[in-house]
Each structure stands twice: as C-alpha cells, then as structure tokens.
Symmetry: C2
Subunit: 324 residues, 2 copies
C-alpha cells in the first residue's frame, strides 16, 4: 500500500497547488490577465456554451517581438550577418555586391535597406546547399556563443517570461501551442522545444525549398536557393491552413504582420482571444510601434481595441520581462 | 475515501489490462507482429541503448493502400470524378476537353490515361475557388453517401483494422502518428481524426496553393488553381522536413512512392522500423504489386527485405482486413 498512499498524497498536493497557484505570476492583475483567465475558463468548462473540445484548442504565437525580443533587428538577421562574415573568404565577389558588401563593412543600416527582398537574398545565399542537419547544427552552435548587441545576453535568454507562463498555462488547459513566424521555420526549430516547450512539428514559418538526395551514400535533405513560402501578413492564415488545417481560437502577435492571423482567428464562431503585445518599455526592453523599421504596429494599434483584441502594454502589464 | 478506492481499482484494472491484452489482435503471431512489438519495446525502455524520448517518437504512414484501400483507383479520384459530373452543367466546355470528356462519358480508363498530370488538372479544376470550409463540407458530404464500386461499402469503412490497432498501439507508447500521403492534404483532413485518431495538424499531403482574402466582409482561405507541393517519392521526406522538422523512427507504406520516406526514416541512427504492406489478398481485398497502375510496388519488393524492412503479407499476416 505504500505506493498507494504516495500516489494519494501526490494527487492531493497537486489539486491544492492547481487551485492555489497563480498560473501567470509575471502578469499584473489588470484587464489583460483577466481576459486570458476568463477566456481559458470559458472554453474549458464542459457544458458552457463556449466550451471547445481539447483537440480544437489551437493557440498560435508569432515569435519575433511576441515570444522573444526583435530589436535592434531580427535575431535571425544577426545570425545571417555572422554567417556572411564567416563565409566571406569563400565568396570574394561579395565585397562588391550589395547587400553583402555593406554587411562586410559593418554598415547594418545599408545592409537592411533592401528590406525583405534583400534579407531573403542573404538568407538563400547563406542557407542554401546545407543539409537540414548541417543547418540545424549551424544555428545551435551560433546560439551557444552569440550575444545580443545591447544587453550582452544570449539570445535565447531574451524570451519573455510572461509569455512562457502563458504557453504553460494554455497547455495545462489542453491547448496545443504553435509558433507562426515570419522568420525562418528551420531557424526556430532547433531551440523552440527547449526555450518554449514547442516541438518542431508545431513551428510554422517562412521557408526556402528543399530536395531529397543521396549524398555519399547517405540520404539528406538539402536546402535550395529558391523561395518556398513567406509566412507573413496574409501568408500567416495560409500557413496555418497548410500546417494545422483548422482555425485557431487563440492568437498572439505584436506587429501588423500578425494582423491577418488575429483577424482569421478571432472571426471564427464562439469564444476567441486575439492578443497584441505593444512594446512600451524602453527601460526594461524596447519601445516602438507605428514608425519602427522592425515590428511596425500601426493598423493593429488603431483597430485592435475596436475588434475586442486584448492589448498588452508591456510596461504596465508585465511584472518581469526576461526570465533571468 | 470513496473516490480514492475507485481510483485505486481503476488503476489496478488498467495495469492488468495493459499487461494481459494483445495490442494487435488482428495480426497473426508471425514475424511482422514480433518486429513491431520488439521495436516498440526497445525504443520505450528507459536505459536501453535504443531508448528514444517520447517527443522524438515520430511515426509516419502513407494513406492510400496503407491505411485504407486504393483500388480500383484512388478514392480521391472517385470524388473528383463525382465533382466533375456535379459541376458539368456549369462547364459546357468539358464535353470536348480531355480528361473531363472521358469522365463525363464514364470512360475511367481514358480519364486516367493522363496520369498524375491529368489528375492534377482535374483536382485544380474541381477544387479551386472553394474556400477551405466549403471544400471540407464537400468532402464530408460526399463521404456520407458515396459507396465503393466493388464492395458497396462507405469508403471510410475500408480502413484496415490491423493498421488502426497499430496506430493505437504506437500512440499508447508515446508515439505521435502522422499521415504522409501523395493524396490531397485537405481531402484527408476532414475525416482522418474520426477514422484514424489523427488530427488535421498531423496530416501531410499534396496541395494546391491558397490565399487569404476578405469575401463579403468575412475572412476566408480560398484554394487556387496552382500547384503547391507534390508529396510523393522524394517529396515525402521533404514534406516530412517542412511539416515535422525531424526524422521519423517509424514509417509504413505500400508502394514505390513510399520508398524514399522509408529510406529516410530507416537510415537514421538507432532503432528504426520501415514497413511495406504487400497487397496479396485478392479474396478479402486486392492483390497487386509490380504491374499495378495504382500503388505500384516493384523496387520496394526487391530492396525492402535487403534493407531490413518489415514486409507485411496481407493474406498471411492479417486476421481481419476491415473493421466491419
């Protein structure tokens, strides 16, 4: 009976803990926190009109600026710049070719002047030809030593503690949590499971094409210099459709690139929660919105409140930003 | 204490059931069944050299001919032919245009003469323009009444009982089960959860492109007449890479279209299981392999045994074919 009583005690303790503990301790007791808790309670309460069966509890999260920081530029761009510097000896032509030349000169503003197109060109130049396993290792190795230019922190330490709590809280209530990022799907997968508890198969993102081939007798997946999918703006609901095949009931983002994902999520029937994180904390993180070159939030700032979306003011609503 | 004792009894019963029951009752006690059980036991036994942590227990299954029947032609082709007949009044030009003309005349052999390309053209003509929700409903409505031309059974009754048991057995051992089909991803999703216990987000397949738009004030995903991805042959490992982002440890298929998926799966490190279902039972199902126009199995029949793949002889290894 020893095992029996241990189990009983464990069960009793678990129940007490579940009832007593605050699932979102880094969130101030303000409207957003109440919105989240009310929403989760309504969709999980059997018999309630808003009840949603567990398999349909799909929650989607943008990554850059929503789960981790994105200033002064997307962390993947920093990775790409480091890769360009690393590969430069093998590409003497880059010295005279933009945007590579600007990267090598350290003029990051000029390097980013080409916008999405320039970034895509650099992505393909630095990722193509690698096998899936080589690319995975390259990202993992980079993250192990690279530091953020302003905070000096490892990038994976710059995830948002309140969002980690939200992910855990949703999963504890039967939700399946997905990342839906404009960033590269294969850039996020190597570390998302450890950082967020989100497995590779629940990461959706932009991608380049790939092919299967036998290399030296071993089957490999090789990345190709050809665009496959841009998971941004109207591409986000499409990416959700291709990967998940049903409409989420919860979506969180921070920029106008997430607008359509929130619109698609919240226009379904029944209880829905759309969330916009507004970066308002210049002291603890960054403050930016309508005029930002990264994570521009303009339309969402005007329309979000009218559409009943939960607007997070980082400075006021979050007790803590980063875990450490 | 009432609750307590009930729980104890339930736990005790559960343990006894787990130990006593045969998880694969429709499989004869032959080598393939032993291969499956040995594999599952080795990867789930903590401390064993073959142990695989639960999140990495990814199992992938072809659909047509592996989880449900595929003769005399893919069931999706029968759906497409029915759609063409239904839509014909709105497309008078189809009377004079192949392959549509042959479908309308009931000459299915001629209709299929164009192979993959012709089927794709028909797929796009009948699927494009529909929203994701309209398409879902169209498939669901069709399955509710359509009958197999030979057996007269509803198509969703023509799933293989031994494979349902295998899916359940793998999931009970911490595996995540995926479909990786050459067929249309959106054709499979509406019924895969009920038929196989596989949710939409664990279905990978061929697809046409889609776009997000606002139609009459409502956001919709609309299917476009443009190919997105063919999930067959070397496309299967690529589809797995895009959707799952890690290499499976278990793969089952039945045709040479599954060869690369099995090759990719079984060439990883550690314990792996590749399975080929050989259709050998003309009496209870269908018998076909090297010469078949659907589900051709030639290379796999020669190389499978040499590569250590588990070869299923349907006639000998399966006690029961269909659930009913």
């Amino acid at each position: 009976m020893k095992h029996t009583f241990t189990t009983l005690i464990a069960c009793a303790l678990l129940s007490v803990t579940t009832l007593a503990a605050d699932p979102l301790p880094s969130w101030n007791d303000a409207a957003p926190k109440q919105d989240i808790i009310s929403f989760v309670e309504s969709v999980t309460k059997e018999g309630s009109t808003d009840f949603v069966p567990a398999p349909e509890r799909i929650a989607v999260f943008d990554n850059d600026g929503t789960l981790w920081a994105e200033q002064p530029m997307y962390f993947q761009a920093i990775y790409i710049f480091d890769r360009i510097k690393q590969l430069a000896p093998r590409h003497p032509e880059w010295k005279d070719r933009e945007p590579f030349a600007s990267v090598l000169k350290g003029d990051l503003k000029a390097a980013l002047a080409g916008g999405e197109k320039g970034l895509l060109e650099m992505t393909m130049a630095t990722h193509a030809g690698l096998t899936s396993e080589e690319f995975n290792k390259s990202v993992t190795d980079w993250l192990a030593t690279a530091k953020h230019p302003k905070t000096g922190m490892p990038f994976t330490d710059m995830v948002y503690q309140p969002m980690l709590e939200l992910l855990t809280y949703l999963r504890a209530n039967g939700f399946k949590t997905f990342i839906v990022s404009g960033g590269g799907i294969d850039f996020i997968r190597p570390w998302a499971e450890k950082a967020y508890g989100i497995p590779p198969e629940q990461v959706i993102g932009s991608s380049i094409k790939a092919k299967y081939e036998i290399r030296d007798g071993n089957p490999v997946i090789v990345k190709l210099p050809e665009l496959n999918f841009i998971d941004d703006k109207g591409g986000k609901p499409v990416g959700i459709h291709h990967h998940i095949g049903r409409r989420p009931i919860f979506a969180a983002g921070n920029s106008d690139g997430d607008f359509e994902m929130l619109e698609w999520t919240t226009s379904g029937k029944g209880a829905r929660l759309g969330m916009i994180i507004h970066h308002t904390d210049a002291e603890r993180e960054f403050a930016y919105d309508r005029e930002s070159h990264i994570g521009k939030l303009d339309r969402g700032l005007d329309e979000g409140p009218k559409r009943g979306w939960t607007m997070i003011n980082m400075k006021n609503d979050w007790i803590k930003i980063f875990p450490k």
